[in-house]
């Protein structure tokens, strides 16, 4: 083979859901990672326990681009029901491995095909009990691929050892099958395809983990004390990771617990309990996904208005409704931004990878307690449930920020002179006490009804206005505390890209392709929080064209930007796409190219800035496909600023 393709391809495995292939797939992924080759693995699975077709796709890339690759270079077909499709979807010049008991025709002549005697290899090993044969059968394709591609068997052994937690019996049973398959391949198959793996050192010092585990670990290092949750894909494994790691990481000599995890009866109760615990002074959290978040909406409004710190993880899946429960999305952004009825503004953190799931895990508590408000962390199914290469987790670099809490001696010092909703410091953040405080000066009555600065019931219009204005001021203050965006600069950039969350890998790859293949140089700003910070403002001012890339239909980040920066509305070009699959560089690149307008002269761009008519036109265009929440918000902002003026006049 003259044109070797080394460390740059995709492997897609088609199996039957529930057949135990995840062990095999993770083994390939981990072995490649241990060989030092940048790699990612994505489970594209149905909402089903057993029987439906499922795929796992691995991206191997020497340059570190690990977004999902749409082309399937190497395909492994283990499922008769998806055999035809798997064969058809193999890229021209690709390699097609299939279980030889699938008696279906090979119709492609432009791909390299390899039959695998899965059943006979497994049957020939007397140490495999008959009821394990199907499970272990998946190791056959691991062994065949290892031999054909050159995956190091020692690294496969290391991956199995990790997976089976050093239990020798299952390690041996699986590894023996891998070896047998590799030996059979060596003796019976001739290498024809161009794909090879070779060891590198590019994963040195990195770890491999999923976002949900990282989020749970981060929460534990953030001192989580209370978590209530209800099972929902793809968030369940976050709460389960709390259960797994809390006993180990928060072990005390006296055996007592510093935390409680409660599985609630539904999401209404999960957030209710979490808010109750946050109100009583605990670092409190819940984790859910879209449908659960819908149920949490009324409570989120209560927590916003009564100013209770709580952290809410939304591991987003694609909706509306039940949608595709096992497919990824960034479709909850505007919902969360305006969650609750009436006027509300949410603090949202947007982790971009596994290490940031850890970091925002602890940081979210600091921000929630500092601001006394719910903090939403938007991860997604792809980041939450798939294995990602990551920088190792790092210890929190700042002490915990417990915010403005008054205990007995504080109250004594200020002689009880405090008001629960009194803006003493001018930053919109009041002081609070928590139940259990023994001072007779500590108590107050919390309510979702109108209240004055001393938490007393009030229906007076000026009292209502003053409180709502303070909450708006607090949201301004939030900008000092939320994470700043990450800028990926490129010299000579003429346009900007804004994205968030798990699309980073796809955007970075697209950024590279646009520069090298289309001579379009871009600066890429990965936004990490709402409200938008000054760095976001500065970036927006810099470019006449900014492509807002996101995994949803409506361009929700684009909507948020247009609401907050109406004067730059014409700069934003929405590149939104949501089909439930993890982002690929291809759709980012093609989406940007489809919207890209070559600047004619510099003057035209300047004129666009000044022309209010153009800005308006663009807003209307967006309005036709934006959701009503965004429209509502725009209206409410206008009224609110008018109100402020009226109030100041009266004064």
């Amino acid at each position: 083979m003259s044109n070797k393709i080394i460390n740059d391809f995709s492997i897609t495995v088609g199996t039957v859901n529930g057949s135990g292939s995840s062990t095999a797939n993770n083994t390939i992924l981990r072995a490649l990672f241990k060989m030092g080759i940048p790699v990612s693995g994505k489970n594209l699975f149905p909402s089903n326990i057993q029987g439906l077709p499922t795929w796992y796709t691995i991206r191997v890339n020497k340059d570190g681009y690990i977004a999902r690759r749409e082309e399937h270079d190497i395909v492994v077909a283990m499922n008769p029901n998806s055999f035809t499709r798997d064969q058809a979807e193999t890229a021209a010049g690709g390699a097609f491995f299939y279980a030889d008991d699938i008696k279906q025709p090979i119709t492609r002549t432009d791909i390299f095909t390899y039959p695998m005697p899965v059943k006979s290899i497994v049957k020939s090993d007397p140490n495999i009990p008959s009821d394990y044969r199907d499970l272990v059968g998946n190791m056959v394709y691991v062994g065949v691929l290892a031999q054909i591609l050159g995956i190091d068997l020692d690294k496969i052994n290391a991956a199995l050892t990790f997976h089976f937690k050093n239990k020798q019996k299952p390690i041996d049973m699986n590894f023996n099958t891998v070896k047998a398959a590799a030996e059979w391949t060596k003796a019976n198959l001739e290498k024809k395809d161009p794909f090879y793996v070779e060891p590198m050192t590019k994963t040195d010092g990195l770890i491999m983990a999923d976002g949900n585990t990282a989020a749970a670990l981060g929460s534990i290092f953030g001192g989580v004390q209370f978590a209530a949750w209800y099972p929902i894909t793809p968030a369940t494994s976050l709460a389960e990771a709390l259960n797994d790691y809390l006993p180990q990481l928060r072990k005390r000599e006296d055996g007592k617990h510093t935390y409680a995890v409660v599985q609630a009866e539904d999401e209404l109760a999960a957030i209710g309990m979490s808010i109750g615990a946050g109100w009583s002074g605990l670092r409190s959290m819940t984790s859910t996904s879209g449908p659960g978040l819908s149920l949490m909406t009324e409570f989120a409004g209560l927590a916003y208005y009564s100013e209770v710190p709580v952290v809410i993880w939304d591991v987003t899946r694609i909706g509306p409704s039940t949608g595709l429960p096992t497919r990824t999305s960034q479709g909850d952004l505007t919902f969360v931004a305006f969650i609750g009825h009436g006027d509300s503004q949410s603090v949202i953190l947007l982790p971009g990878g596994v290490d940031e799931c850890f970091e925002f895990g602890w940081k979210a508590f600091d921000i929630a307690e500092r601001l006394q408000t719910p903090v939403f962390v938007l991860s997604d199914l792809d980041m939450g449930m798939n294995q990602w290469m990551s920088k190792p987790f790092t210890y929190p670099n700042v002490p915990m920020d417990r915010g403005k809490v008054l205990w007995e001696k504080d109250l004594e010092e200020i002689k009880g002179n405090w008001g629960r909703y009194l803006d003493k410091d001018g930053d919109g953040i009041p002081y609070r006490t928590v139940p259990g405080n023994k001072s007779p000066l500590s108590s107050y009555f919390t309510r979702g009804t109108g209240h004055d600065e001393y938490a007393k019931y009030s229906e007076e219009a000026p009292v209502w206005l003053k409180n709502m204005d303070r909450l708006e001021k607090k949201y301004e203050t939030a900008k000092q505390y939320v994470p700043a965006p990450v800028l990926h600069k490129m010299s000579g950039a003429t346009v900007g890209i804004i994205a968030f969350g798990s699309t980073e890998a796809a955007v970075l790859e697209a950024q590279h392709q646009l520069a090298t293949q289309h001579n379009l140089k871009t600066d890429f700003l990965r936004v990490r929080a709402l409200p938008f910070t000054d760095e976001v403002t500065a970036f927006i001012k810099k470019y006449d064209q900014i492509f807002v890339v996101e995994m949803n239909r409506d361009g929700q980040m684009d909507q948020m930007l247009k609401i907050d920066y109406p004067e730059y509305g014409a700069h934003f070009q929405s590149v939104a796409y949501g089909d439930g699959l993890p982002a690929s560089a291809k759709w980012v690149r093609e989406g940007i190219l489809a919207k890209y307008k070559k600047p004619v002269t510099a003057k035209v761009a300047g004129a666009a800035k000044k022309s209010p008519a153009k800005v308006k036109a663009s807003k209307t265009a967006t309005g036709s496909r934006s959701n009503h929440a965004a429209g509502r918000k725009t209206a409410s902002k206008k009224i609110s600023s008018a109100k402020t003026k009226a109030t100041s006049k009266r004064k």
């Binding site: 409680a260 209404l268 109760a269 209710g272 309990m273 109750g276 615990a277 109100w279 108590s443």
Partner: protein
């Protein structure tokens, strides 16, 4: 209505906690005059005062409705959380983890508990959260001006609503079905019994369900209906005279009890309830009996009152979590953040 404050210079009677009754009071009520709920609020003040409970050790909770407004009418020195409609149980469940030495005192209504909040109600019962759960049950939605509730009896006729077609929910029966450890029913028109049951409920370790028929004088007080004063007075069938006796190490005047049909139940904190049986020879630790007398009352159209069921042996929710003696909300970074070397451990646990 609140009682008149003592004149300056008069001797104020204090309890063993060194507090006067005024230390247990709240704001003036904004409910209708004659509302059964006000009578219950007064008994809450008396019960807590007489039990020498420090207000700072009590956390008040409520949902939404007339009943749920009442926690502002007592115990101003206690923290309180007026939550969402039907969601008091979840707020209380979480909040009581903050300081597990505190006692919860929740006030809900029949709409808040038996309609919108039925799910959370049954689950807090099943978890045995350490709180008194009072249902001020008037069989009607008062705050929205007179709609049927889930406890309204069949055939009840209300202005704008017509005639109720649906069978009522029996809150005590629901509680018992969910493995409640304390179930009692009372009638706001019998304040002495309300107070004694409240004391027993406060001493109980776990969720103490107290269903108090509390007539709505504005929307549901027709003499012939189940939730009215007149009907209650005529049809109330107390199971026993109930007396709460504080733990023995406190100085209390023990009332003389009649010999014979007396049953004592020891509570978690060393106190006792003494039940002087009326006719029925009733054993409140027998769950089967509790269900039987409730069914019997339903068939005979009685308003059966008293301590229907108690199991003082089951642990409360926070007891099952083996929490630090220091309240969780007083723990600091040293208790909560794993040591720096643990970061290497978790990185090594990843692949």
């Amino acid at each position: 209505m609140t009682e008149t404050l003592p004149m300056a210079g008069t001797n104020v009677q204090v309890n063993l906690a060194g507090l006067a009754k005024n230390d247990y009071r709240g704001n003036p009520t904004t409910l209708c005059q004659g509302c059964g709920h006000n009578s219950i609020s007064n008994q809450i003040v008396s019960a807590l005062f007489e039990m020498n409970i420090v207000p700072e050790n009590v956390i008040k909770f409520s949902g939404i409705g007339c009943s749920s407004k009442s926690p502002t009418y007592f115990m101003n020195r206690s923290f309180g959380f007026n939550s969402l409609h039907g969601r008091m149980p979840s707020i209380a469940t979480g909040a009581l983890f903050g300081d597990h030495h505190a006692k919860g005192l929740g006030v809900s209504g029949d709409g808040d508990t038996a309609s919108i909040g039925m799910g959370q109600f049954k689950h807090i019962i099943r978890r045995n959260v350490n709180m008194v759960y009072i249902v001020e049950n008037n069989g009607v939605y008062g705050l929205t001006k007179g709609q049927f509730s889930a406890t309204s009896e069949v055939g009840l006729s209300l202005k704008h609503q017509g005639v109720n077609q649906y069978m009522p929910v029996d809150i005590c029966m629901e509680g018992l079905a969910s493995n409640a450890t304390f179930v009692a029913r009372s009638f706001a028109g019998n304040p002495k019994q309300v107070k004694e049951l409240l004391k027993a409920a406060l001493a109980h370790n776990g969720t103490a369900l107290l269903d108090i028929i509390s007539p709505c004088v504005t929307f549901n007080n027709q003499d012939n209906t189940f939730h009215s004063y007149a009907w209650g007075k005529d049809h109330e069938e107390p199971l026993h005279d109930i007396t709460y006796i504080a733990p023995r190490n406190e100085i209390v005047l023990e009332r003389e009890m009649d010999e014979g049909e007396v049953r004592e139940v020891g509570l978690h904190d060393g106190s006792t309830v003494i039940l002087k049986n009326l006719e029925k020879g009733y054993d409140p630790t027998n769950r089967f009996e509790a269900l039987r007398v409730m069914e019997e009352a339903r068939r005979n159209n009685w308003l059966i009152t008293g301590l229907l069921y108690i199991d003082p042996t089951k642990p409360a929710l926070t007891d099952t979590y083996n929490l630090t003696d220091t309240p969780l909300n007083r723990l600091t970074q040293a208790d909560l953040r794993p040591a720096p070397d643990k970061i290497d451990l978790i990185n090594s646990l990843m692949f």
